[in-house]
Structure formats: C-alpha cells, structure tokens
Subunit: 219 residues, 2 copies
Amino acid sequence: MSLVRVHNFSVSLDGFGAGEGQQLDAPFGHAGSRLMEWAVGTRTFREMGIPGESPGSSGVDDAFARNWGSGIGAEIMGRNKFGPQRGQWEDDGWKGWWDADPVFHTPVVVLTHHPRPALEMEGGTTFHFIDADPVAALEQARNLAGGLDVRIGGGVSTVRQFLAADLIDHLHIVLVPIVLGRGEQLWDGLEELEQRFDIEATPSPSGVVHLIFTRRTAG
Amino acid sequence: MSLVRVHNFSVSLDGFGAGEGQQLDAPFGHAGSRLMEWAVGTRTFREMGIPGESPGSSGVDDAFARNWGSGIGAEIMGRNKFGPQRGQWEDDGWKGWWDADPVFHTPVVVLTHHPRPALEMEGGTTFHFIDADPVAALEQARNLAGGLDVRIGGGVSTVRQFLAADLIDHLHIVLVPIVLGRGEQLWDGLEELEQRFDIEATPSPSGVVHLIFTRRTAG
C-alpha cells in the first residue's frame, strides 16, 4: 500500500516551520540555519551535499533523517521549495535550488498556479509543474510513483494543506527548542490533529526531539 | 542562593498553556483535562488530592512532578489561578480553589490590581494580595520565602511575564502532543528565549516530553 509521508520537517517551540522574510539567500528567513542544524551534521545530509569536515554522525538524528528516501516513488513540493520566483515564470532558466543531478532521483510534482513544461534532470529527477488541489496532486504523484510511497516535501504551507486534507499517513516532525516568534506556522487550522495519529517522541543528544506521527486509520 | 522556578507547566504543540473559554467549571477552557492528563496519574498529584484508583505512578512524570515543592519558600500566582472573579472583590468569601488546608503550605503572593487583606489558611498557606510588577512582586515573595526558592505558579500570562522580564532560573515545561488551536499562548513575545537557557528533553511513556530550561547565568 502506498503511503504519504513527511520527513525531517523542523518546527520551533512556537510552531514555526520557517522564519519571517524568506528569500533567495535566506530560505528559512530570520530563522537562518537554526531549524536545520540538527540535520547538517548527519551522514545522510553530508551525502546530499551539505559540506562538513567529518563524514557525518550516524546517531538517532541520522537514523530518522535517512528514512526520507527509502521506498519513495515521487515527491510533492510547493513552488516556494522549488524556487524563489513568484507569479508568471520569466523563462525556463531556473532549474531548482539543486545541481544538474538533484537529490530526489524520482518524479517531483511542483504545485504552482503557473504550469510550465516538465523539466527532466540527470539522475532520474523530473519536475512536473501542476496547478492542483492536494487530492488531485496526490493522484498525479501516485501515478508517477509506480506503487511506491509519496513524500510531501514542504514547504510549511504545503505540509499544512495536506495535513488539513487528512492525506498524510506518516509525519516526522523535528521539534527544535527555539522560539522564533514569527514566520510560517505549521499548526494553524489543525486543531485536534493528534486524534488522527499515534505519536511517539524520541529526544536526541543534539537537543531536538523527533516526533513520529503515525496515522491510526489507513487513508 | 534563592532561585525562581516554574514546575509542571504544560503546553500544547502550538504553544497554548490553556485553551479558550476559561471559566469556573473549565479552568483550562476548551482544552479540558488534556493538558494535565500526564500529571493526574502521578503519585505526587494523588497526594495533592487528585482522585484515582491506584496510588499513582512513580515513573519519570512523577519524578519531575515531585520537584514542584522541594525547597520552595513562597509562590507567586496570577489572580486567575486564585479564582474566577474579575474586577473588585465582591466580598472576602472566596478563599481559592483549594480546601481549608491548601496544597502550598507557604506564603503565596496573588497578583491583582485589587489588593485585599491577607488571608491565612490552615497548614501554613497565607495568600497575600499585591498589585505589583514582576520585579516588585518577586522582591516581596523573596522576603516571605525565608531564603528558599520562589515558584511562579501560573497561569500562562504570569509565567510569560516573568520569562519576558528574565526573572526565571528553572523552567519545567511539559510538552503535550496535542494541537489546541486557540487559547492562551506561552511563547508570545519570547523570541530567542532559548539563548538564555540550557535545554534538556526527556520523553515519557505517557506521551509527553519534559523540557527542562536551566538559566545559563545567575540573575
């Protein structure tokens, strides 16, 4: 059975998944790198191209981080995760934040009100630009996933919309003990979300707490 | 050295320390008992008079809960914790939510814009009704505490004000994995609070996560 999964999604104590003022050189806004510090030291993120002196840790942070790709046949992401542009695309020059061989290695559905032709990259990643609600986007992603799971890759509003539509089976939240004060809220409109999930908490020596939400009934 | 401490203070994933619609028969508003379920099963809370069939658990929830009274010489609470009345006191009949022998057994400073004479109860608890800002209230509480620590007993806005004034040395937050959606926010106005604290996380089999904030520099 194909599940819908979210991995490595960091939020602050006050529920922000990104800070205020997101832009090209500050994808998490005023939060800077604070929400992802737990991840950059892991072997998984080193292998995705995050630079560092050591080969990366293989402790509990890495154990959770590593699950992001296993059994995934497609990702759905918001346009904000694909690039900083808004409105009509000026040209087809922007090919995402990643290099010629993006880390995904699967089809990726990019949600946008401005569809454009699919963009095939090296290594198996193809970006499909689609204007669709969560249910329709998931149907398209499942068609592309070849029976494997679908990952909801973010950003914050994309994850929130899929949670609100009750489409997510497995949710990995990384609670980072910081107070951001402002930014993009994950939990808005999700009152009583916990009633649909079993929730398990695991702390890490890095200071974060991994929260695993497992949906109680199949979708 | 006398420290200022907060214990057993529950917040939801979205940062609410109480729900919406707090009133006499619903002190946590629409949150009901959900924020305190972890506590009512502990031996510490049974000994405070919370009814239950077993003698109460002595696991990690109880270990943290039990610290609330040790070494405390006085408590400061908001008026909302003392009673549901607002504005001028109609008479002196209300003696708090507790019985003739309240659980505190120390002086208790009640913050109110409507001072009234001190109220001496059985068992060592005396309520002092004071109109003061956090710094002045703490000075009075320290005078009453005989060199012991001072506990900030809540509610949410009282804890938030003392955190904003940087007066708290030890903060025990119990993160309850629920999304309340509305109510009284603990974290408002506390951006970068974490920079003043070392933070340790311990999960409990009950599902909550205990977060211990220890102030980095003495006040």
